[in-house]
Each structure stands twice: as structure tokens, then as C-alpha cells.
């Protein structure tokens, strides 16, 4: 697992999983389609990625599909890092 995967995974768990939730999140866990993250709450993840990695993610790219797993999120970040 890359450093970026670790950082994003840590953020997702801290931001979206409650201490008493019975959920295990890994890099390939579905986040949006499983309901762990809803589209309304996704905004904080987008802001985190933009600040942390110095990128700007257009709304057309920050889709529920692209944000569905830590793996796909990291792919998106790498794409915009150039």
C-alpha cells in the first residue's frame, strides 16, 4: 500500500466511520455505493484531497463512481497530479 493509500484510508475511516460502527474499510471497500459515504458528505473528502495533494478536482471528475473506493480515489489524485 502506498503512502497516499494509507493517508486516504486513514482520512476516510476517521471522517466517515463512527467508533461504534461495525464496518471494516479497506482500500477496495465500496464507499458510496455501499452507503458508507453519501454524496452530500463526499464534499469534505474532495476538499481534503485538494488541500493535501495540491490539486483541483473539477466536479465533473469528482463523481460518486470515482470516489467509490480508496483505490479509485488515489487513481484520480494521481491523474490530476500530472
Amino acid at each position: 500500500m502506498s503512502k497516499m493509500h494509507e493517508e486516504v484510508l486513514e482520512y476516510v475511516i476517521d471522517e466517515y466511520v463512527d467508533e461504534d460502527d461495525d464496518i471494516e474499510v479497506e482500500v477496495d471497500t465500496a464507499l458510496i455505493s455501499s452507503g458508507i459515504v453519501d454524496s452530500f458528505s463526499m464534499v469534505s473528502l474532495k476538499v481534503f484531497l485538494e488541500k493535501k495533494y495540491g490539486i483541483s478536482l473539477p466536479d465533473s471528475e469528482a463523481t460518486p463512481e470515482a470516489f467509490d473506493t480508496v483505490n479509485s480515489i488515489c487513481e484520480l489524485v494521481i491523474k490530476f497530479q500530472g
Partner: protein
């Protein structure tokens, strides 16, 4: 013809997709006034059945109250059928002003503005008050209309974990650089029946210089010792900057909503809120009926006291019957089933037992949190509640879930 066969097939395909996901909403027809006992045609074309209604927002049983109906009739006679105008052109009558003043007094706020619905109030309030220099920090389970309103606003927004004050504090710290912070929450959350810990939330708002907007649609009229709402219950009447609420639930159940709060904020809504500026006024008969509702609720607390007793009694009895519920102290009681098909099947069987309830599942609620939402009303009698509990016990027995907790039900049916 622009609506081609191709167009028709495309839209039919979309409807089929909704059906295939199990999200299709069936038509249900009520053939009587709204009340605890109603006559229903369901499915469409089926013979009418008399059932007990445990899924309406008629919390105070005022939807068909004779005094409210009479007042609405009088309003129709005195002020006509419709306004044929938005509020600011020629759609404001003296009774609109009277209702606004009564709501300000009832809710303990400085000023009030009526909207065609609370959905409209929530769609308009954020954009009217905030700008791109500001941030909205919202509980993650707020009502869909607040989500829509927030998305329509140019302010930045963020969310905090449902009712998690530690997380809210973190978000308030994060956004200290913004001009204004507005915390947004429901008073009672409609799917879970949770009551936000508003005293703690207001203390954080004070500490971090934030304003508070409370949507009290599922609380106005009955939460708090005189039914003023969640802010009364937590003794923070003077700490709330904006309240949005509806006349479409406990307060008579017809339609209409309002934003109530600090007078400058309400004035901004009057000047800028698009649903206020571009949608028709509340109809005179509904305004007159709503005035009567507020008068009735101001006279005494009998109806909210009955509702409180009914909710407590149902919660106690359903637990004794061995069902699993989400604990709380509001008239919204989710009977937790976790599995979507189980929730749907049990709701159908409850209807066959003469109890009208509806199953809810993802994406309306979180995945794996399917439930039948029961809503109590002051119009329910003890006998109505006993009948509903007996039906839950019978249907629960059929599905083998009596006495099972979350783990047991999930082991048996999955999520």
C-alpha cells in the same frame, strides 16, 4: 411529434430500472379524511380497506379536527380560494401577517416569513442569507430539502457525523477562517426519531462563533413542555438564529412552511429567497386553518401530552412484544429489521392485519438499516396502539424475529 417512440422507450427503461432496484413507489389512495382510522385503496383497483394509520405526520391529530376545518371554511368564505400572486406583488393578506406574527410568538423568535412549503423555505433560506465567504456545517442526516437548499447556495459546506458533537467541534475549528459559520440540523430526525442534543450544539455554536439553523418540522407543536419545539425541550429558546418548519405535519397537516428567526435574516429572506419571490402564497383557507391550529396549541398542551403518552406507551409495549426498535423519546419509532426485503414483506403483512405502515431501506436510510417507521399520533387511542403492537407481534412471529436483537436478525436474514 417530438415525443418519439425512442423517447418513450428511454423513459420507460428508466422506470423499469427503478423497479428492478426495488425502489418503485406504488400508488396508494386514501378515500377518507386523514386520521388515525382511514379507508385505503391499495394496491390500485383493490377493494377499499379500513386500516389504522401509523405512517402519517399527523402527530397532533389536527388534520381533520372540526375546529380547524371550520376555520378553514371561514377563511375560504372571508378571503377567497386563491391569491393568484406571489407574496410581494399582491399575494399577502392580513391573515398572512397574522399567521406570521402568531408563529413568531409561538416559536419565540423575532420575525417569521411564510413559504408555500418548508421544502421551499429550506430551498431559499441559505442563498438569501449566506455567500461564498461563509460555510454551512450540517449534520449528515438532515432532511433532503435542506441538502438541496445548501447545494443551491454559494457558501462552502461541510458535514459532521450524525449527532456527533466531537466531530462538529472539529469542523468548527477547521472553518474558523470563514466570515460566518452556520450549523444546520433537524430537531427530530424523520427516519430515526433521534432528538439532536441541541443544548450541546448551541454551546459549541457560542464557543466557535457560529449561527444555528434548526429544521423543526418533525417537532413543532409537540416537542418541549408546551410544544414549541426542540429548542424549548433543551431550554435554548434564545440561542437559535433560524428555525424552518412546516404546517404540513403536526401543525394541521395541510401545506405551507416558514422561516422564523432574527429579524434581519428574515428580512433578507423576504428580499432574496427565490421560492418566496417566485412561488404563490399559501392559500387563504390554509392560512386561516393554520391560525386556528396555533390558537388551539396555545390554549393548552392536551394534544402534545397525549402524543407523548402514546409514544411512550408504544415504545414500552413494542419492546415487551420482543421487537427491536431504535431507542428514543419521540413519536417517530423505527422498528428495526435491517434487511430490505424483510421490511417490505412485514409492512405488507401488517397492512393485511389492518395496520398501515411502510418499510424504508437504502438509499432512503443507510444500507443495512432497513426498518418499518412507526409514527404515533395524538389521534391514536390506547386500543389502536394495542392493536398495532399485537399485529407486530403476530407478523414478527411469522418471520421468527421475536426476541432477536440486531445481530440475531442479521444472522437470520442478512443485511
Amino acid at each position: 411529434m417530438t415525443y418519439s417512440v425512442k423517447n418513450r422507450e428511454m423513459f420507460e427503461g428508466e422506470i423499469e430500472e427503478i423497479k428492478s432496484k426495488g425502489l418503485y413507489k406504488e400508488k396508494r389512495f386514501i378515500c377518507s379524511p386523514q386520521d388515525a382510522e382511514i379507508t385505503v385503496e391499495f394496491p390500485e383497483g383493490a377493494p377499499q380497506a379500513k386500516v389504522l394509520n401509523f405512517c402519517s405526520n399527523n402527530y397532533l391529530g389536527l388534520s381533520s379536527h372540526p375546529d380547524v376545518v371550520e376555520a378553514a371554511h371561514a377563511g375560504l368564505d372571508a378571503r377567497g380560494y386563491g391569491m393568484s400572486s406571489v407574496r410581494f406583488i399582491c399575494g399577502t393578506q392580513d391573515i398572512h401577517r397574522e399567521l406570521q406574527n402568531k408563529m413568531s410568538e409561538f416559536l419565540g423568535m423575532e420575525s417569521t416569513l411564510l413559504f408555500p412549503s418548508c421544502m421551499d423555505a429550506n430551498a431559499g433560506v441559505f442563498e438569501a442569507v449566506l455567500g461564498p465567504e461563509d460555510v454551512i456545517i450540517a449534520d449528515r442526516l438532515i432532511h433532503a430539502s435542506l441538502v438541496d437548499g445548501i447545494r443551491l447556495c454559494s457558501a462552502e459546506y461541510d458535514t459532521f457525523k450524525h449527532m456527533n458533537m466531537k466531530h462538529l467541534r472539529k469542523k468548527l475549528e477547521l472553518h474558523q477562517d470563514k466570515r460566518t459559520r452556520l450549523i444546520v440540523t433537524d430537531g427530530v430526525f424523520s427516519m430515526d426519531g433521534d432528538l439532536i442534543q441541541l443544548d450541546e450544539l448551541c454551546a459549541l455554536a457560542d464557543e466557535y462563533d457560529a449561527m444555528v439553523l434548526l429544521d423543526d418540522s418533525h417537532a413543532s407543536g409537540f416537542i418541549g413542555k408546551t410544544g414549541r419545539g426542540t429548542h424549548e425541550h433543551f431550554n435554548v429558546m434564545d440561542k437559535i438564529d433560524l428555525i424552518t418548519t412546516t404546517f404540513g405535519k403536526g401543525l394541521g397537516g395541510a401545506s405551507g412552511g416558514c422561516v422564523s428567526g432574527r429579524k434581519e435574516l428574515i428580512e433578507l429572506c423576504r428580499q432574496k429567497a427565490r421560492p418566496y419571490l417566485f412561488s404563490n402564497s399559501m392559500a387563504p383557507s390554509i392560512v386561516a386553518g393554520s391560525i386556528k391550529v396555533i390558537d388551539l396549541l396555545t390554549e393548552n398542551t392536551e394534544r402534545r401530552d397525549t402524543l407523548e403518552w402514546n409514544a411512550k406507551y408504544f415504545r414500552e409495549e413494542i419492546l415487551k412484544a420482543g421487537l427491536c426498535i431504535r431507542e428514543g423519546n419521540t413519536p417517530v419509532v423505527p422498528v428495526m429489521l435491517f434487511n430490505a426485503k424483510l421490511a417490505n414483506d412485514m409492512a405488507r403483512d401488517m397492512y393485511a392485519e389492518g395496520i398501515y405502515v411502510v418499510g424504508f431501506f437504502f438509499p432512503v436510510v443507510s444500507a443495512g438499516a432497513a426498518r418499518i417507521r412507526v409514527q404515533l399520533s395524538a389521534a391514536h387511542t390506547k386500543e389502536h396502539i394495542d392493536k398495532a403492537v399485537a399485529a407486530f407481534a403476530k407478523v414478527g412471529e411469522k418471520y421468527g424475529i421475536i426476541g432477536l436483537d440486531k445481530k440475531g436478525i442479521i444472522e437470520k436474514y442478512g443485511m
